[in-house]
């Protein structure tokens, strides 16, 4: 990621402060009776004017895609209805499909980019068998935000479409409004279907909608989203408004397609096929 003058001065200033503060911390650490406190430095959050992601399908194979999905679902406590913690909570396959919660998943081309009509289109074999990694596109003109009656889903100034689980009334209007089927609803209590809860993120109660939030908590800690980290370079994430960001470089160098651009939602996940 490129760095401009303001960023440099800010980081330099913070480092100085830590340097000065570090002496104090060292003194307190070495003082007798002092505890080995897990002192953390203030993480520098990642900021942007418009976050975007580029999925390079040439570099993304199915195994890596599954790792991205697993990373995301693990750190967000997304339940898996096909594998209950206790056997008596088992559900039928039809119910597991109905109640499925997925923030990121794979689908073949004619589901990811529908309307192309498989039967009438002669397609390259490579793309025909590709499993596209799909997630919320964090559109710049999101219909889901437009229809939410409580602003429980809202667009931040950095472009991320966030979910406020505390405010959602579960009307599911946003699910009807999303043209990409990116949102899931908690039809029942998810906890019996989460094997290992991740402590830094809550679970959800039945009755609210959830979706990918571009790992806003990790961004606040200065880290990239989990799927990007797990993707072995196939996913690029960055600030579309910053000319020197990696996404701009990738977009300049490659032709990309987006899902259903004609609907005007302005999706911010680009695909290199």
């Amino acid at each position: 990621m490129g760095i401009n003058r303001r960023e440099f001065i800010r980081i330099a200033g913070l480092s100085t402060l830590f340097g000065l503060g570090g002496a104090k911390a060292a003194w307190e650490l070495l003082r007798p009776g002092q505890v080995e406190a897990a002192l953390q430095a203030i993480p520098t959050p990642l900021a942007a004017k418009r976050w975007a992601m580029v999925v390079d399908m040439r570099k993304l194979d199915e195994a890596t895609a599954q790792q991205c999905i697993e990373a995301c679902h693990r750190i967000h406590n997304v339940p898996n209805f096909r594998s209950p913690v206790k056997p008596e909570d088992k559900v039928t396959p039809a119910e597991a499909q109905r109640w499925e919660i997925k923030w990121i998943w794979t689908d073949p081309f004619h589901n990811a980019f529908p309307g192309a009509h498989q039967e009438t289109m002669v397609m390259s074999e490579r793309v025909h068998h590709m499993q596209f990694l799909l997630l919320c596109n964090h559109c710049n003109n999101p219909p889901c935000v437009r229809v939410c009656p409580t602003k429980a889903t809202f667009q931040r100034s950095d472009g991320i479409v966030m979910m406020d689980m505390h405010r959602c009334i579960g009307c599911r209007y946003c699910m009807a409004g999303c043209p990409f089927s990116a949102r899931s609803f908690n039809w029942r209590d998810p906890r019996p279907y989460i094997h290992k809860t991740y402590p830094d993120y809550p679970t959800r109660e039945p009755g609210m909608v959830e979706k990918c939030d571009f790992c806003s908590k990790l961004l606040a800690k200065g880290e990239l989203p989990a799927c990007v980290v797990a993707s072995k370079g196939a996913l690029t994430f960055g600030d579309l408004n910053d000319e020197k960001s990696p996404v701009r470089e990738v977009l300049k160098a490659n032709f990309t397609i987006r899902r259903k651009p004609h609907l005007g939602t302005n999706p911010q996940v680009y695909y290199i096929v």
């Binding site: 119910e95 109905r98 109640w99 437009r146 599911r172 009807a176 089927s181 029942r188 939602t265």
Partner: protein
């Protein structure tokens, strides 16, 4: 005037008792839903996230709006004959809107957070406006109906302040289901609903179904009470139903033409799912053909004055209209919008038994309110005619 509802025949109290049983059964399953989540009681899922409950809301909002069809001729155009039955139309609207609001609450995932719509008003959301117009319409009709009925009982003219409310309720009625139609017709991702004719279709099916229900209720009132709504009134209502159902069938064929002549797959797929099945799935196909076929037959039958004048055949055709518009505007509209899903996959939706019982419970509440209000209205009418 509520004391009129506390006395009645044995049949009246048995009706109330039966409705109460329905309500209690629905309430039991609703408590299960509150405790365990919507997945426990409904057949809804990630792909079809609105189903039977919202289908009822969509249908009933049209029935509620149909009150304007008796209010408008009487108050704006001085069609004196409708003076006898405006109160029946208004009270039907009250019961229908009440059911609409209860269906919204029943469908919510977190009804305990209902106040959030008021705490955080969002004018860009159609659901916000839907809440406002539905609640206002409910209060409008309660106040207007009650005040006018009470003045009638005391044999005085209604007070002057109720006149502007009545005039307001006339444009308000089409607005309630225009707003409900806008819930659907503004979503870019749902090709089945993304049509300008959604609001007009709502209007036409409302003005067919609502007055049909009113005709049936008027015939029941004539049969079981001493109040006769009047033959002329029922005939006028029948004429309204005829034109509305003809327009409704015409609108449907307009939709079919646009979709199938343009051959755009995104729009065609939903019609194909509803009327011929898609990817091997299509449990709604016979229902949809019955709905459209029945509606067309009913429209053609209503054209004939002989069928309209004979009140038995009229009742039968009105019943057919109610059933067919219910299927078309209810589950047909809902499921068609969600299937196939935006990824062009067919995931079907079938309501479950608890879902149907909760729905019946809400209908029980609506019909209980309707019975009580009608009892009051009819008792007053009987009294002043005596």
């Amino acid at each position: 005037m509520l004391e009129y509802a506390l006395v009645g025949t044995r049949r009246y109290f048995m009706l109330l008792g039966a409705l109460l049983v329905l309500i209690l059964v629905g309430a039991y399953f609703y408590f299960q839903q509150l405790q365990y989540g919507l997945g426990y009681t409904t057949g809804l899922g990630r792909d079809v996230s609105w189903g039977f409950y919202i289908a009822q809301l969509t249908y009933l909002v049209g029935v509620a709006a149909s009150a304007v069809m008796v209010v408008l001729p009487y108050y704006l155009h001085d069609y004196k004959a409708f003076g006898r039955i405006t109160i029946l139309g208004e009270f039907l609207a009250v019961a229908a809107v009440l059911m609409c609001l209860i269906f919204v609450i029943v469908d919510l995932g977190r009804p305990d957070r209902l106040a959030n719509i008021i705490k955080y008003p969002t004018p860009n959301s159609v659901l916000f406006w839907d809440m406002i117009v539905l609640n206002t319409y409910l209060f409008l009709n309660i106040i207007i109906g009650w005040v006018v009925l009470e003045s009638e009982r005391n044999q005085v003219k209604p007070p002057n302040w109720v006149k502007p409310l009545i005039i307001l309720s006339i444009p308000w009625a089409p607005s309630i289901h225009t707003v409900t139609a806008f819930l659907y017709s503004g979503l870019p991702g749902r090709g089945f609903w993304l049509t300008a004719i959604m609001a007009p279709r709502f209007l036409s099916s409302a003005f067919a179904a609502g007055p049909s229900l009113l005709i049936l209720l008027a015939l029941l009132v004539r049969k079981y009470t001493k109040f006769d709504p009047g033959r002329e009134q029922i005939q006028s209502l029948a004429k309204i139903v005829t034109y509305a159902i003809l327009i409704n069938v015409f609108f449907f064929f307009c939709e079919v033409f646009t979709v199938f002549y343009s051959q755009i797959p995104d729009h065609m797929l939903h019609f194909q799912y509803l009327f011929s099945g898609l990817q091997g799935k299509g449990w709604l196909v016979p229902w949809m053909w019955f709905a459209i076929g029945g509606m067309t037959v009913a429209a053609l039958l209503m054209v004939s004055p002989r069928i309209r004048r004979n009140e038995t055949t009229l009742a039968l055709v009105c019943g057919l209209i109610i059933v067919t518009t219910y299927i078309d505007k209810g589950l047909g509209l809902m499921t068609g919008g969600f299937v196939p899903n935006p990824l062009e996959r067919v995931v079907e939706y079938k309501p479950t038994l608890p879902e149907l019982l909760i729905t019946l419970g809400v209908y029980g509440i609506g019909f209980l309110v309707l019975t009580i209000l009608f009892k009051v209205a009819v008792s007053v009418k009987e009294e002043i005619r005596a």
